[in-house]
């Protein structure tokens, strides 16, 4: 079965190649060109320098980079780029994929295994690509009595909700998809959707293990939402704002973890519970209830849920960095752009090109992104490490931790914050 081509002949191979090229050309001519025509009729092309961007101009841009830079800038600073690529979905998905690979390697090293090894030349670096191909080519089996529309929608909704969470995290000054005045409240609103989607998927599967797992997930997420919300009250009290960008700006001199270590610890533990990670992975407890609420997901649906949960992990780690570790604040390590780039142009071999508006992104943005990414990766490692260290806890212990201990600690944290303000250490007259 695993033999790729038992009757391999070079002539057949070349024939298949030419066949494929033929069909690609035919399909492009019959479908692609009409679609391009329709798009050209209904969509206004970008205007650059009073001139419509046409293929001719695009070709001249290859040889005249000074024409391309403003065009590139207008793309990078557009809303769609923010949503699709940099502070939004693409960045989060990239970090999520890297997290999956790093987690597998890290856990393997902690348990004296090698982990993914054979796929790719170096240390199994292509394992994720192989897994993606495997997942996308596997059959999706849905239980006969399931609620099919809801069951199909649940993984997509899970990824989409995680993406909406990512939209609120500021990565660098001004680089955030949605800069809200009530960003923290919006974060709580988005977090509140995860248990609903979990219960929807587990109910629609119409199977026993997903149902038990879904009920467990509901209990767990719901119990830890209150310590999560209360532990961030101290941050709001000290900074006096609910906007995440403003909270980062307020941490210019001191990170908030210096004043609110208890709140940071409570938030971190609640974060682990909201992410359903060990030691709080009761909803997916594989030794008790198969895979919990993921039991009936197969093929790409499971892949989507996995992608969504790692995007959620990135978003939570980013939120921790924004609230307690100073977000993008850090010493300036990116060297400043040389002045002669703007005044004299770039010397590339024998050619000197003068390009207007060349530093496409500012130095602060590069520096901020660097520091935010470094801190986020550090927090992600702290989230991953407990999986190799701790056992799973019982559900009554989980509820008692959430309702008795963490809530009490969150109130202690709140009174520390109020005390710091009223003692004059922080706030308007203090060292802020």
């Amino acid at each position: 079965m695993s033999v790729i081509a038992p009757k391999f002949k070079l002539s057949y191979f070349i024939k298949s190649l030419t066949d494929n090229i033929f069909w690609i050309i035919v399909l492009l001519t019959l479908i692609g060109i009409p679609i391009i025509m329709i798009v050209l009729i209904f969509v206004d092309l970008p205007v650059h320098d009073g001139e419509l961007v046409n293929p001719f101009l695009a070709f001249t841009m290859i040889f005249h980079p000074e024409l391309a830079v403003p065009f590139l800038k207008s793309i990078i600073y557009s809303d769609f780029f923010k949503i699709a690529a940099f502070p939004g979905f693409g960045f989060a998905a990239l970090l999520a994929a890297a997290t999956i690979f790093a987690e597998r390697k890290l856990l393997a090293k902690m348990q004296l295994r090698v982990g993914p090894f054979y796929c790719g030349k170096f240390e199994g670096i292509l394992q994720l690509m192989g897994d993606g191909l495997k997942l996308i080519s596997k059959e999706i089996i849905i239980p006969a009595k399931a609620d099919k529309p809801l069951f199909w929608a649940a993984p997509v909704l899970f990824v989409a909700t995680a993406a909406a969470f990512v939209a609120l995290i500021p990565v660098a000054p001004g680089w955030v998809v949605a800069d809200l005045d009530l960003g923290l409240i919006a974060v709580f609103a988005v977090i509140g959707f995860f248990p609903i989607i979990t219960v929807i998927s587990s109910w629609s599967a119409n199977s026993k293990y997903p149902f038990i797992g879904g009920i467990r997930a509901l209990h767990q997420m719901v119990s830890f939402e209150i310590p999560l919300i209360l532990s961030l009250l101290g941050v709001t009290i000290l900074t006096g704002t609910l906007s995440l960008s403003e909270i980062v700006h307020a941490q210019e001199n001191y990170w908030l973890i210096v004043f609110l270590p208890i709140g940071a610890i409570v938030f971190f533990i609640s974060m682990l519970a909201e992410l359903e990670r060990i030691p709080f992975d009761l909803p997916e407890a594989e030794s008790e209830i198969v895979a919990g609420w993921l039991t009936e997901f197969s093929g790409m649906m499971y892949g989507l849920v996995q992608l969504g949960s790692y995007i959620k992990l990135y978003a939570f780690a980013g939120l921790f960095v924004v609230l307690f570790l100073g977000g993008w604040q850090g010493p300036m390590v990116v060297p400043p752009f040389p002045e002669e780039i703007i005044t004299e142009g770039i010397q590339a071999g024998p050619i000197t090109v003068q390009i207007a508006g060349l530093p496409i992104v500012s130095q602060e943005m590069l520096n901020g992104t660097l520091w935010f990414t470094l801190k986020t990766v550090a927090v992600i490692f702290f989230i991953l490490i407990p999986r190799g260290v701790f056992p799973r806890i019982r559900i009554d212990m989980l509820l008692s931790i959430g309702w008795n201990k963490l809530i009490a600690l969150a109130f202690v944290n709140m009174f520390i914050a109020v005390g710091l303000i009223y003692a004059g250490i922080l706030g308007p007259g203090g060292i802020w």
């Binding site: 699709a84 080519s137 919006a186 209150i226 992608l307 109130f411 009223y422």
Partner: protein, 119 residues
């Protein structure tokens, strides 16, 4: 309002970007309907018995009820916390009274939630 719509745009973008993964998977994966056993719910190899959405004892139902109350109260505290820097110091007193009521109610609810016989 434009900012709030961007959250929804991000949500929509993820739906538009991820739905093709399911559609492509459905197109290229094998689909064989030969065996009815294949579409039974997973019960570790046993033939499933009874309905999937079974009734079982939810001993921790009290915590769900508590969440409904205390989640709202926790959010109310933010209205006070966000404006604390502009308020006078004496405004802490009604908040402490509010917290006292909240703590009392929470202690009573936690105490009752331990009584398994009433749930």
């Amino acid at each position: 309002m434009a900012n709030y719509s961007q959250v929804m745009l991000m949500f929509g973008f993820a739906v538009v970007a991820m739905a093709p993964a399911l559609i492509i998977s459905r197109m290229i994966s094998p689909r064989k309907r030969s065996n009815p056993v294949k579409f039974l719910p997973m019960e570790c190899g046993q033939v499933p018995s009874g309905a999937g959405r079974t009734h079982f004892m939810m001993q921790y139902y009290a915590f769900i009820l508590m969440f409904v109350v205390f989640d709202v109260m926790a959010i109310f505290l933010y209205a006070w916390g966000a404006t604390l820097l502009e308020l006078e110091k004496s405004t802490i007193l009604p908040i402490i009274a509010f917290l006292g009521i909240m703590f009392g109610a929470m202690a009573y609810a936690l105490n009752q939630s331990k009584r398994r016989d009433i749930w």
